[in-house]
């Protein structure tokens, strides 16, 4: 594999996609209108837990404009939605996989569970008709809190999951951990709740499903992060349709953050119904539906213990986590609080032994699955909060306790399965401390104290595992899918290029970053490269975008396809230049006979490939179109240090962020502007979790109390500061780009950094810990109870 050098690499090229977004010419799913289109509306359960005794749809069916009303009774032969990762319990039994019906069958299990699909000529007619459906519910007691759900006597949600338990899973050497604790000089203990979040991409989920009678085929437009996986799961596992008879298009997608990875019930029901009504069906979620039915994130309850020697060196970490999976297993739900969480518990540290046990179960809430960071923010929060507390208890400065435990030799095998290939943790900490002006903190703190305010500084040195990872390893851990990526480089006769990628952009800027790689490698203008993604009808295959994998995995697949294009070009050039293939060099868009001035431009070679008059037809096929699959040999390990400085008003409990500084190591960077943007966005979501956001269900009724943007506090422009960001580079050792991934880092580091800053600020008034978010109410309460 050739190195990627110079050209557009490392340049903040302005984005190719911006022109359409800025002029209103973007094509999001709800912007798609098909001829003769109908509108779908889902009647949802008003109860958290109830048996369905009967459904009468007769009045709705007779309502004006109504074409059809479907319930579970109509969906004969349609399977439930599958889960893509099998977790095996410590006792060797497989996780419990209760059915996840496309429309509720006999029972509803959370508020918002879809009960019926109404299809009408207009959206209002569909909504009006849904009001006429009579559902006879037998309301059952509900449980929304995972700790409550696992207690004896809790309401039983699925017959297939006794005691509401899905699995108890563990990783690490328990005996070795217990032995290390027995000889520890100091033990720090902490109880943590990782608050439940609602992803809230600003574009609500939407779909347009249509059936083509002439071809007996389906087309689905859907706001989704991985259309090929959507198609595979829907056709092969749920609807029993031939995969090649369905095209899934995820056009412009207005943010995902994980919530659009999954196969959802709505689009599945619509595809099924489109053949019955023989007209296209459109549905776009209202925001209130998004709150009720999008997969949520986080929702862990954890007890953690860290054993240290007298110098603050970590000896062992022991963690017990209970994870809420919601009412049903969403597509990747089971691997988030296990494979993507507990394997990260070494963080940046040499902790020799770690043991983590995770119990996951069902509640009467929306399903919980990956949300930006997916397991890794939860792991970072556990490690960095307990390290902060240990430093505070042992009077070791926060930078010092981290430095005493940093991993400095690579590759490094952690006690929780991961093999870190490279990293430079001191460099990130140093740089973050510099841009945060840590040296000036004491003076700023003293100045704030004069005004009656409490200042605090919080650190988080996080690591994440991205670019998920060798398919065979993932398979042995329970993955039911491969984890490679596909890329295709189609060179047209005149030398312009269309790139097809299985990665999907929903804000990340692939159309620009990938074009920079291709233009640089082929030595052609960036305007001559277009990137196509998000369409199973045009892209050969793909696993989509999640887990910060697009550049490291999807980008590498494109690099491999480029290698093939250049190798073939070299053969063609050798023939045309009457030289040996081994003498042909390719540089700056030219194939040259080494040591001579005889050369052919890239465009001359592509033209010859399609007009093969002077061409090695006996050994080389015409055409210049290459594809490649890339299956990584390891995860990538982005890491960094985030430092947050806060000022707390002890009278009101208001926390103000004075500054937020981040130094991250993402490996090599193609477009610094885009990378910084990803960091800013991640930090804002992490700050949202720590300061504002919390999804709350009523304990008695199971109703969602934070069901709108008026009740659930998303960060707004005046809640966050401008950020100070920097990068430090250790290139990934096992992909040709040296890239690690940057999409989730901000959301991973920020919550711990911010909460550590709050605890630092409140240490003088005796507060040690309370759970996120650090709302004025919680801060004030913590101060009052500490004073008592």
């Amino acid at each position: 594999m050739g190195a990627i050098e110079s050209g557009f690499i490392g340049q903040s090229v302005k984005r190719k996609e911006d022109a359409r977004f800025l002029t209103g010419a973007g094509q999001y799913t709800d912007d798609v209108t098909l001829p003769n289109q109908t509108y779908g509306y889902f009647l949802r359960s008003p109860h958290a837990h109830a048996n369905i005794r009967a459904i009468d749809t007769s009045k709705a069916k007779a309502a004006p404009g109504v074409i059809a009303v479907y319930t579970a009774a109509d969906l004969e032969g349609v399977n439930g939605l599958p889960c893509g990762w099998l977790i095996t319990s410590v006792d060797g039994t497989p996780m419990k996989e209760p059915p996840h019906p496309v429309l509720a069958k006999g029972k509803v299990r959370h508020v918002g569970d879809q009960v019926a699909l109404v299809i009408a000529d207009t959206q209002n007619q569909a909504k009006d008709a849904a009001e006429l459906i009579e559902v006879d519910y037998e309301v059952l007691p509900a449980v929304v809190d995972i700790v409550d759900a696992l207690k004896p006597g809790a309401p039983q949600i699925h017959d297939e999951a006794a005691g509401n338990k899905c699995y108890t899973w563990a990783i690490g050497d328990k005996a070795a951990v217990d032995a290390a604790f027995a000889k520890a000089a100091h033990v720090t203990k902490l109880d943590l709740v990782n608050n439940r979040l609602v992803p809230n991409a600003i574009e609500p989920r939407a779909a347009v499903a249509s059936y083509n009678r002439a071809e007996d085929s389906y087309t689905l437009y859907v706001s989704n992060q991985n259309p090929h996986v959507e198609r595979l799961l829907m056709t092969a596992f749920v609807l029993g349709l031939p995969e090649h008879k369905m095209r899934v298009i995820a056009p412009d997608v207005g943010g995902g953050f994980g919530s659009k990875i999954y196969l959802y019930a709505e689009e599945t029901a619509m595809v099924w119904a489109s053949k019955r009504v023989r007209r296209p069906i459109k549905w776009a979620a209202e925001r209130s539906e998004s709150f009720l039915s999008d997969a949520h994130g986080r929702d862990h309850v954890t007890h953690a213990e860290l054993a240290l020697d007298k110098d603050g060196k970590f000896l062992a970490l022991r963690v017990n986590t209970t994870a809420n999976l919601g009412a049903y297993l969403s597509t990747f739900a089971s691997c988030i609080p296990t494979i993507l969480y507990a394997t990260l518990l070494a963080g940046q540290y040499t902790t020799p032994v770690i043991y983590c046990e995770v119990t996951a179960g069902f509640t009467n809430t929306a399903p919980v699955d990956a949300y930006r960071g997916a397991g890794r923010p939860e792991a970072t929060y556990v490690i960095e909060r307990i390290v902060h507390q240990a430093g505070a208890e042992m009077n070791i400065p926060q930078d010092e306790i981290r430095r005493r435990n940093f991993i400095r030799t690579f590759p490094h095998q952690t006690p929780v399965a991961l093999l870190y290939d490279t990293g430079g943790y001191d460099a990130c900490l140093d740089e973050a401390m510099k841009i945060a002006d840590v040296n000036g903190f004491e003076a700023r703190k003293a100045e704030a104290a004069k005004r009656g305010k409490l200042r605090g500084l919080g650190y988080a040195s996080y690591i994440e595992a991205c670019g998920i990872a060798p398919s065979n390893v993932a398979g042995s851990l329970g993955a039911r899918a491969g984890l490679y990526e596909a890329g295709e480089v189609r060179v047209h006769p005149t030398g312009s290029v269309t790139v097809f990628t299985g990665s999907h952009s929903h804000g990340q800027g692939h159309e620009t970053t990938f074009a920079q790689i291709v233009a640089t490698r082929l030595g052609i203008p960036i305007e001559n490269v277009d990137v196509v993604h998000g369409d199973t009808g045009r892209v050969l295959f793909g696993m989509g975008t999640y887990g910060s994998r697009s550049l490291a995995v999807g980008g590498t697949a494109i690099v491999k396809a480029l290698d093939k294009v250049i190798a073939k070009g070299r053969k063609i050039a050798a023939h045309m230049l009457e030289a040996a293939e081994s003498d042909i060099e390719f540089k700056d868009g030219k194939f040259t006979v080494a040591g001579t001035d005889r050369s052919k431009a890239f465009g001359e070679i592509s033209l010859a490939a399609y007009v093969p008059h002077n061409y090695p037809l006996d050994t080389v096929e015409p055409g210049l179109n290459e594809m490649a699959f890339y299956d990584p040999t390891n995860f990538t390990f982005p890491a960094g240090t985030h430092i947050c400085e806060v000022e707390v008003d002890p009278d009101t409990g208001v926390v103000s962020i004075v500054s937020f500084s981040a130094c991250d190591d993402f490996g090599n960077i193609i477009n610094p502007m885009i990378v910084e943007g990803q960091v800013h966005g991640g930090l804002c979501q992490g700050i949202g979790q720590a300061l504002l956001e919390r999804c709350v269900y009523d304990k008695e009724s199971g109703q969602l109390l934070t069901g709108s943007l008026m009740d659930y506090a998303l960060p707004r422009a005046d809640d966050v500061p401008s950020f100070k960001v920097a990068t430090s580079v250790t290139p990934c050792t096992h992909n040709p780009l040296g890239a690690k991934g940057c999409g989730e880092a901000g959301a991973i580091g920020a919550p711990a950094a911010l909460m550590n800053a709050v605890m630092d600020a409140l240490s003088s008034v005796g507060v040690k810990h309370f759970d996120m978010p650090a709302s004025p109410h919680r801060v004030w309460q913590a101060i009052q109870s500490a004073n008592v």
């Binding site: 903040s12 302005k14 984005r15 996609e17 911006d18 022109a19 359409r20 977004f21 800025l22 002029t23 209103g24 010419a25 973007g26 094509q27 999001y28 709800d30 912007d31 209108t33 209002n124 809230n200 991409a201 600003i202 574009e203 609500p204 412009d252 997608v253 207005g254 943010g255 953050f257 776009a284 209202e286 925001r287 209130s288 929903h506 804000g507 990340q508 800027g509 502007m673 885009i674 910084e676 943007g677 800013h680 966005g681 991640g682 930090l683 804002c684 979501q685 709108s708 943007l709 008026m710 998303l714 960060p715 707004r716 422009a717 005046d718 966050v720 401008s722 950020f723 901000g746």
Partner: protein, 157 residues
């Protein structure tokens, strides 16, 4: 029962008979095909549907189309020059990477233009407060604030 509606949209007179409960955002998107005005929430919280009505920024998801009877409406599709040159605020968003997924962007740009009309020399704090009605989940607002500052400077020229 359909009611006649007449208004100006992006400089053109538009007439239609509409269901009285039609929201202005839906009228623009569905009847006129101006899909640059996006709908992100039901509660006038996210601002993705922000347009200009008689020179003021308005959230089109919370206005009945009939309330715009006779009004002069401008949407994101109507702010670039006739030769396609982007409005200085659009150009500033591109230059500063003030957008990622693009969904909030159209409303954000319409709000930003209104903000600059009201506060031509706004500082960062004023800009952040004035953008409170527009949610972005991608950018963390950092580059949006920079874009508004740069756009304001360009609009002053």
């Amino acid at each position: 029962m359909a009611i006649p509606l007449a208004l100006t949209v992006n400089g053109k007179t538009v007439r239609a008979d509409i269901d009285p409960r039609t929201l202005l955002a839906d009228f623009l998107r569905t009847t006129l095909g101006l899909t640059g005005t996006h709908i992100g929430c039901d509660t006038a919280q996210c601002g993705a549907c922000t347009i200009h009505v008689d020179g003021r920024a308005v959230k089109a998801c919370n206005v009945l189309a009939l309330q715009a009877q006779g009004a002069n409406v401008v949407t994101i599709e109507g702010i670039a020059a006739t030769d396609g040159t982007m409005h200085p605020m659009q150009a500033a968003f591109k230059e500063c990477h003030g957008l990622q997924c693009g969904f909030c962007t159209t409303g954000m740009v319409m709000s930003a233009i209104d903000l600059v009309a009201r506060h031509p020399h706004a500082d960062e704090k004023t800009i952040r407060e004035a953008l409170e009605g527009n949610l972005c989940r991608c950018t963390g607002y950092h580059n949006i604030v920079k874009a508004v500052q740069q756009g304001a400077a360009a609009m002053a020229k």
